[in-house]
Symmetry: C3
């Protein structure tokens, strides 16, 4: 599997909810957390997605919002995965922050250096990765 | 409220239009412009969104398209906020452009240096920030 | 037409499929490939989209996933345009990869340098640009 998406989280399809045009596909991860993706019916069919199908979620690092201090706010994103900061690599303007989930999966987000400072993101800090279900790309091995 | 999203625009819910699965939530800003977000019913309920609820819209700077010369084209994005360029910070490849709206809100977009030149984005220039309603994350203080 | 979106692919509307709230708009490109966009009914009307209308698709470079070795995986993205790597410009962390489609259109993606190495993206290599229909912005000349 070779794509440029920084985040490729593997799991198993745990739920599929059919809507009029789109399906919500839930992919369970190793640590018990789940990723919700919105894809069209035709994609669900083309990929052969069923409960139990091994699948992966693709996310570019620029699609992810990090948050801390979650007690203070509620967001509309279906996906909010809790983890621990494993590394922070700062560039000229942006930084790459890697979050390790309890099951060992890693989510990398690109945020500004300013946000790294504001959020106090240092190795070991607790943080959550938030992203909309409509942004998640689902894949399977052919 | 601590998130890494560069743009956190606060306002009040001014309309909620229910669809089959998703709701369109309109957040009125200080200057009379509004942001339209598409979120699921369950998010509308979980966040307790009603007309008059104070809420904020989150947008990463990389999700925003800037445009000028709007008379010449029409775009499908529900959100097109008009403003004035307040600052342009150029990096090696990308630039951060901050747009001030009439009510004082600031929207920051990350675009290429090439686009800064092509669009003639200098301080004081008029420009619009375009983004899809499906990209907007809605939040409330818990 | 002046926008900051790196990718502005021009074509003609070849299909419009109406859903409950959203429409799927297909824009045929010069090389016979097509881009599928999801926009609201109101946008379809406001832009006057009909079969045969000249239109363009806007995409920021950060919204695009590149993939190679496509035989090994299937993705849920409606859009997967096949092309050939025309250039790779590496920065400190990210790289810009330009893909030329058969009809001469160019799609630019921003991915990490690490992905450039992992995917073996050198000039002349075959690759595909994948992006969700919900991400595509449609425009017309007014």
């Amino acid at each position: 599997m070779l794509t440029s998406a920084r985040n490729q989280l593997s799991g198993t399809v745990t739920a599929i909810t059919r809507g009029a045009v789109n399906d919500e596909v839930e992919i369970g991860l190793a640590d018990g957390q789940a990723i919700v993706a919105i894809v069209t019916h035709s994609s669900t069919e083309a990929l052969g997605l069923r409960i139990g199908t091994p699948a992966f979620a693709l996310l570019k690092a620029s699609w992810i919002i990090l948050l801390t201090d979650t007690a203070g706010i509620k967001l509309s994103t279906r996906n909010q995965l809790a983890g621990t900061v494993a590394s922070v690599t700062t560039g000229a303007v942006n930084a790459e922050v890697a979050l390790t989930l309890a099951g060992g999966d890693v989510i990398t987000a690109i945020i500004t250096n300013e946000s790294v400072r504001n959020l106090g993101l240092t190795v070991g800090a607790k943080a959550s990765a938030a992203f909309k279900a409509a942004h998640v790309v689902v894949g399977v091995k052919a």
